[in-house]
Symmetry: D2
Subunit: 337 residues, 4 copies
C-alpha cells in the first residue's frame, strides 16, 4: 500500500487543495455505532476530486471528524485515501491528538501508509504558549522526518492565535511546508517572517486578495467547496493564474465574489465563533445539500444543530452546487485531463 516517498517541499504545494469529509453511514450520529465509515462513498469522492482536477487533498481535519472517529475508522480511511489517490496528488491526513506521543504514533502510521503529510493542530487541553506550540511541531518533525506538515491554523479549535513569531520559528523546520491559514490580516508579515518557507493556504474566497498582494508566492489555496462539486474552484485557480500573467483581474474578482457569496450563509449571523460551535454539522449539511457527494450524518457529540442554522448551511450548499454546474461547461484544461 505504501509508496516510496521523499519529503514534500513548499514548491509542491500549488493550486486548489480540497478539504474532504470522512463519509458516514446512516446512523453514525448514534454513539452505539461501531463501524461508521462509508468506504464506497469515500472512494467515489476521492476519485471525483482527483478527476475534477484538484491539486491536493486535506483530510481528517475538523470537518473530517479527526476528533470523533475511532482509531480503526481513521486508519481505514487513511489507507483508502492513499490507495485510491495512488500518488496522483499529494494527500495530507490529520493526526491531531491530545498529546505529543499519540500524535507521533498516529503520524508514523500515516507515514508508513504513504501519506505525504499531516494536517496538524496543537493539543488543545491547555491553550499553548508559543514556546509550547513550536516545540510540539519540532518534536513531531523529529519523530516523523518523512512527513510534511500542514499547520492547521484554527484559532477557535486550538485556543491559539498562531502569531507571527510562531511562524518565524516553525519556518526553520523542513517538514513544515504549508498551512491551512486563517490570519489574512497578517499574511504579508507572516510570509516575510517565514522567509517563504511555508505556503500559506487562504480559503478560496480569500485567495483573490492573497494572489494580488503577493502574486509570486500566493499560488495555492484550500477549499471546502470542492466537495460540493470541484468545477468552480478549479476554474477559479486557473483564472487567478491567468490574471497574474495578464494583470487583468476582472474575471478573477468576479469569481471571488461568486465563491464568497456561496460561502456566506454557512456562517450563522456571519460569526466564525458561532460557526465553530457547529462547524462539522454545518459543513456536512452543506455538502449533503449540494449533492455532489454524500457525507452522511455527523458523529457524536457534534451531531446536534439548531434548526435555525441548518437552512443557512443548506443554502450555502445549493449555491456552491449552482456554481459547480455553471462552470462545468468551462472545465479547465487540468481538470479535463
Amino acid at each position: 500500500m505504501a509508496k516510496a516517498k521523499s519529503l514534500i517541499t513548499v514548491d509542491e504545494i500549488v493550486g486548489a487543495w480540497a478539504i474532504m469529509p470522512t463519509p458516514a453511514k446512516p446512523g453514525s450520529d448514534d454513539w452505539r455505532s461501531e463501524d461508521t465509515l462509508d468506504l464506497d462513498e469515500a472512494e467515489r469522492a476521492i476519485e471525483g476530486l482527483i478527476k475534477g482536477g484538484v491539486n491536493g487533498i486535506l483530510a481528517l481535519g475538523t470537518l473530517g471528524e479527526c476528533a470523533t472517529l475511532t482509531w480503526d475508522e481513521k486508519y481505514k480511511f487513511m489507507a483508502t485515501l492513499v490507495e485510491v489517490t495512488a500518488g496522483r496528488v499529494p494527500v495530507f491526513v490529520g493526526t491531531t491528538a491530545l498529546n505529543t506521543r499519540e500524535t507521533v504514533r498516529q503520524t508514523r502510521i500515516a507515514s508508513d501508509l504513504g501519506a505525504d503529510g499531516t494536517m496538524l493542530g496543537v493539543p488543545m487541553w491547555c491553550a499553548p504558549s508559543v514556546a509550547t506550540a513550536v516545540q510540539y511541531f519540532k518534536d513531531i518533525a523529529e519523530a516523523c522526518p518523512d512527513m510534511g506538515i500542514c499547520v492547521y491554523d484554527n484559532k477557535e479549535a486550538f485556543k491559539f492565535d498562531f502569531p507571527t513569531n510562531f511562524w518565524a520559528q516553525v519556518a526553520s523546520i523542513p517538514q513544515v511546508v504549508t498551512s491551512k491559514y486563517s490570519s489574512m490580516d497578517r499574511l504579508l508579515q507572516d510570509i516575510n517572517a517565514s522567509h517563504q518557507q511555508i505556503r500559506f493556504l487562504p480559503i478560496d474566497a480569500a485567495y483573490y486578495g492573497a494572489a494580488r498582494m503577493h502574486p509570486e508566492f500566493c499560488t495555492a489555496f484550500w477549499t471546502n467547496s470542492a466537495v460540493c462539486g470541484p468545477n468552480a474552484v478549479t476554474r477559479f485557480r486557473d483564472v487567478i493564474k491567468a490574471a497574474k500573467e495578464s494583470n487583468d483581474w476582472a474575471e478573477a474578482n468576479n469569481m471571488a465574489g461568486e465563491i464568497g457569496h456561496a460561502l456566506a450563509p454557512l456562517f450563522p449571523n456571519g460569526s466564525f465563533k458561532e460557526f465553530s460551535i457547529y462547524n462539522i454539522a454545518l459543513e456536512k449539511a452543506r455538502m449533503n445539500a449540494a449533492g455532489w457527494m454524500n457525507a452522511g450524518p455527523t458523529r457524536p457529540p457534534y451531531h446536534i444543530l439548531p434548526d435555525a442554522y441548518l437552512e443557512g448551511a443548506q443554502e450555502s450548499g445549493r449555491r456552491a452546487a449552482a456554481l459547480h454546474k455553471k462552470y462545468s461547461s468551462l472545465k479547465s484544461p487540468a481538470a479535463a485531463e
Copy 2:
C-alpha cells in the same frame, strides 16, 4: 480486581476530595519515553492520602495528565488506584476524550476496574452548545449506568461556561452526583436549579464562603493541596463542620485565609487564564516543592514553563507544606484513624 458496586449517590460526596497527579518517572518530559508511570510513588501517595484522612480521590484530570498519558499508562494507573484504595474511599477517574465513543470505551473499562465514577469534561475540539454538552452527559450515563459522574467544570479547558441551565438539565441524570466546580458567583443559583442533586465542590479556599452560604448542602470540597500534605485541608474540613454547629466561624475564617494565602502564588499575576496555559507544569512544580510526594516531570507537550512562573509555583508549594506541618500536631480524629 473489580469490586461489586452500586451507583454512588450525592449523599456519599462529603468532606475533602483530593485531586492527585499521575507520578512520572525521570525523563517523562521527553516524547520518546514509553512507560512513564512511577507506580511506586503512585501507590505511596494514594496510601498517604487515605491515611491522611481525605474523603475521596479525584484522578486523571488536568494536573492528573488525562490528556498526555498513553492508554496503557492510564489503564495501569486506574487499576492501581482502585486496588490500593480498596474501597476505603470513593475514587473518580478522568475519562475525558475527544468524542463520545472513546469516552464510553474508557469509562466502561474504568467501571469494570471498580472505579466509583468518572471526573468528566466535555470533548474540546469544538466549543459545545448547552444542548451538545447535556446530550453528551446523557449518552455517557446511558452507556455506563454504574458510574458516578463528577462534572469537570473547567471553563478554559473545555471552552464552555457551564451555565445554570446546563446544571438544571444534567441534574436529572442519576449518575451526575457531583462537580469539580468553579462558578462561585452562581453557586446558590446552581444549587437551586439542580434541586440539590449535584454536590458542587468548590476549591478548598472557597469552601468557607460556600459553607456559610449554604451550610446544609455545602459539605464537600476539592483540594489540590492534599498532595502537598493533607493535614491542613482535613483539619479545615473538620473546623468548618464544627463552625456550622457552633455558628462560631472565627477559626474557619482564619484557616480559609491561610489556605488561600498558600494557593495565591500558584497563579501567575493572579490570572486563571494565564495559569491555565501552564496548569500542569505549575501544579507539579508546586507539589515537588512541597515535598510530600514526588510528582516527577510534566509529560509533553505541556512540560515547558517560563522561569518567571516557576518560582511562584514553588513558593505556593512551600507555603502549603508549612501549613501541613503546622496542622500535623492537630490531626483530626478522622485522619488519625
Copy 3:
C-alpha cells in the same frame, strides 16, 4: 441648597441603596430634544423611595443616563435630588466622565450642591491598567476631599476587571467608602484585601449569599428594584437582619429566590454581556412596566431595543411590581416611619 457636611464613612453605608433613573419627558429619545428632564416625576420618585424606607440613593449611573444627559440636565437633577432628599438619606450622584479633569469639575459641583458622594467609574476610552485606575481615584479624592466615593464596578462599561489588588490599594483612600459591586466570586477576598474599609454592595438578589458569607460586614446592598416599588427590598433588608440574629435563614432564602426570579428575565438569554448592550433601555422598560414610576423613554443613542428583548424586561418589571404589592401589607417598621 447645600448643606454643611462631613465626609461620609463606611459605617453609614447600611441597608437598601436604591438605584434610580433620571426620568425623561416624552420625546426624549429624539436627539433634537433639549430639555428632557421630567422634574415632577423625579421629585415624586425621590420622595417615594425615601417614604418607602430605602437607606440611600445612587443616581446618575448607567441606567441613570450619566452618559447621555446634557450638563444642564445633569446639574438640575443633582440639585433636585439633594433638595428633595434634604438629608433624610445619603445620596451619591454619578460624575463619571471621559477624563480626570472633567470628573473633578463635575464632582466639585456635586459636592457644592450637597451630595454625599459620587458613584464613580473609570474613564473608558482606553481600558485602564490597575495603576491608572488607582491613581484616578486618588486624584479625584484629593480634588474633592468632602465627597464620598462609591466605586462603580461595572466590568463591561469600564473595560476593567476591578481585581483584588485594585481594592487593596483604593482601600487606603478615606473617600472610598463603598462600591456598587459585581465580583461575588471574590467577595471575601476583596473584603480582606480592603481591610473592611469599603462596604461592597451586592445586588439585592446576591445579598443573601453575601450576608451569610460575612454577616458582620455585609450589611448593605444595591437594588434596581426599589424603583419598581420599594416594599419587597426594604422588607428583604429587615428579614436578612433578623436572620443574622436568629440564625434562621428560611424566610430570607425564600425572599432571595423571589427577588432573583423577578430579576431573571431582564437579562436576554441570561447573558450580562448582552444585557450590557441594551442596559438602559431594558431597565427603563422594566420600570415603566412595573408602573411605580414613569422613567420615560431612553435618551439617544441607547434608545434602540430589539422587540425580542423588550418582553423579558417588561415581564421582569411585572414580577417586581407583584412582589412590591405582596409585601405592601408587611411594611417593615423602618419603611412605615
Copy 4:
C-alpha cells in the same frame, strides 16, 4: 475664521493622511493644569505636515486626546488647525463624545469653524449594537449635513467590531466618506458591501497590501508616523502610485517593510490589546523620541506608562526618525512644492 465649504466627497480622500497629537505644555500630566495646549507647537507641526506634503490631517482621535482635553482646549485646537491649514489640505477633527446630543453640539461647532469633517467613533459607555451604531451616524449626519464623517474603526476603544453589515448600511449616508480602518482581513468584502462609497484608510504599513488587493480603490492611508517626520510616508505614497502604473512592486514592498519595522516595537509584546491600554502615552513617547515635534506629556488619567513599555515606544520613534532622514534627500515632488 470659517471658510465657505461644500461636503467633502470620497474622491477627495487620497494620499497620506496624517494623524496628529494635541501638543501639551510641560506639567500637563497633572490634573490641576487648566490650559495645557501648546499652541505654538501645534501651529509649527500643522505647518510642517502640510509643507511635508501630507494630503490630509486627522486630529483629536485617541492619541489626539479627544477624551482628555477640556472643551476650551479642544475648541482652541480646532480653530488653530483650521486657521493654519487655511484650506490647503482637508482636516477632520474628532468629536466623539458620550452621547448623540453632545456629539451634535461639538460637530456643529467644528463645522462652523471650517473643519471638513469629523473623525468619529461611537459612544462607548454601552457597547453598541449594529442598529445603534448605524442610527448614531445617521443622526449626526442629519444634524451636521455639511460635515464629512471619517468612521473611527477602533475596536478596543469603542467595544464594537465594525462588521460588514455596518459598512453596508452607513455607506448610504452621503457624509460618511472615509474610515480610519483596521479590519484588513475584511477589506475587499467591506469595499464591496459599501459600493466604494467609503474610502477605507489602512495604516501605512498595511497600505502596500491594500493597494495590491484593490489598486483602483485603495488610494489613501492613515499614518501615525508623519509626526515623526513626514518624508518616508509621503515618499511611500508616491512609490505605491508609481508601482500601480508600472506593476513593479519591489520598491514599494521594501518601503512597506521599512515602515512596518519602524512601527513594530510600539506594540508591547506585539499585542494591540495591550497597546490600547497605554495607546496615548506610547504614541507621545514615540513622537517625542523621534524629535520632529514636541507632543509634550500625556494628559490624565492616561499618563501612566510602565517603564518596560517606554523603551519600545522610543525605539519605534527613533526608527521612524531614521526613515524620515533617509528619505529627506528623496523628497517627492508633492512634498517639494
